[in-house]
């Protein structure tokens, strides 16, 4: 027992000595942390477009086309959203998998959907996009990926929080690139936000079984 005590004693002294020693030379290196997030720059110029499309979602049914830019963007959005595009199907399927997981209060299924969504983004063929679409797509995906990651590894309520913003991202993506699916843009008055569903019947993913029928269909896509 005495030897153990001795060892522990040596340990403690070494610890103290090293703490003091390492105090001296710690101020030397400071690291320039640039380089992080450099990929995020230079995407600002397309935000105008995305803001418009979001506005479009929020103010759907609003016939007031008073400012020119809004009017042209809206017309384009409507055209884009009826555009048949099969390439976005894996992304939308994964999104719906998350949605259905949340509707069923099933954290694991929602998480699997998050992983599937990340895979769908990395498999997406970007070469088919024109330059403008590409920039807008990257802007959306950069954000959506982060939400998908969180959804793949978080508890249910946290998944739902990320699903709110993810829904905006995915509906902007559908507006941008189109889909071959029939989708419904639903509105949740409690969260004041939209989500996409493949069924006409309302099944609220933000509250699950607590308020399953809460919400209304804003728009049918295709």
């Amino acid at each position: 027992m005495r030897k153990t005590k001795l060892s522990i004693g040596i340990f403690a002294i070494a610890f103290a000595a090293l703490t003091v020693m390492s105090c001296k030379d710690n101020k030397k290196e400071s690291v320039d942390s640039n380089g992080h997030h450099t990929e995020m720059g230079a995407k600002e110029n397309h935000m105008g477009m995305n803001n418009e499309s979001e506005e479009h979602h929020h103010e759907d049914g609003d016939e007031d086309h008073d400012h020119d830019k809004g009017a042209t963007m809206k017309t384009r959005d409507i055209e884009a959203s009826t555009q048949k595009n099969a390439a976005t199907a894996p992304i939308i399927d994964a999104y719906l998998q998350i949605k259905n997981g949340l509707v069923a209060d099933n954290k694991d299924n929602a998480a699997k959907g998050g992983t599937a969504l990340l895979a769908a983004f990395s498999n997406f063929e970007m070469s088919q996009l024109n330059e403008e679409q590409h920039t807008a797509y990257m802007d959306i995906v950069e954000d959506a990926k982060e939400h998908a990651e969180h959804i793949s590894e978080s508890p249910l309520e946290h998944q739902r929080e990320h699903f709110e913003t993810l829904s905006t991202d995915i509906s902007d993506l559908v507006t941008l690139l189109g889909t071959n699916k029939t989708l419904y843009l639903d509105y949740c008055p409690m969260k004041k936000t939209n989500w996409l569903s493949e069924t006409k019947e309302i099944k609220n993913p933000f509250f699950g079984s607590k308020m399953i029928t809460c919400g209304n269909v804003k728009k049918k896509i295709n």
């Binding site: 522990i8 070494a14 390492s22 942390s33 640039n34 992080h36 995020m40 803001n51 979001e54 982060e146």
Partner: protein
């Protein structure tokens, strides 16, 4: 008895050994132009609170605690900071697209509202980083204001 001694000795050697491994430090003398504080013209009271409560893990400049001088604590903190910065880096604020800014602000607001941030493991030692109810309200109000201005 002998076994215990050998184990203790091995541990000691390992402990001493890892003290020589230096971790890169998250420190910078300049506040970049892209910093949240500069971009948003943050009122001083709120700015100070953000600096104390958030900037250690969510900016390019950490005010390190004394125990960061010992390994393996330094590693642990460095990973922690790296993760924190990848989620949100106030130093790089204006490099985020408006979409991501909105997304980050939403998360900032809900994390503070739900008392998820600052982390309880952090406020355990950094008592001054705790946000009082009135400070929470102040910070959240300001974040909501920025978020609304982005729409």
């Amino acid at each position: 008895m002998k076994v215990v001694k050998i184990i203790a000795l091995v541990l000691l050697v390992v402990f001493v050994g890892i003290q020589f491994v230096k971790t890169p430090r998250n420190q910078s003398d300049v506040v970049p132009k892209t910093d949240f504080m500069l971009v948003n013209d943050v009122p001083k009271a709120i700015g100070n609170k953000l600096q104390i409560s958030c900037y250690d893990c969510h900016s390019n400049n950490t005010a390190y605690p004394w125990y960061n001088k010992v390994q393996p604590v330094a590693w642990f903190l460095e990973n922690h900071i790296k993760k924190g910065k990848s989620e949100l880096n106030f130093s790089e604020w204006s490099n985020y697209s408006d979409r991501r800014k909105k997304s980050k602000l939403k998360s900032i607001i809900s994390q503070i509202e739900d008392n998820e941030m600052p982390l309880s493991s952090y406020t355990l030692i950094h008592r001054d980083a705790i946000l009082s109810e009135s400070e929470k309200e102040l910070v959240i109000g300001f974040m909501k204001q920025i978020k609304d201005s982005l729409k």
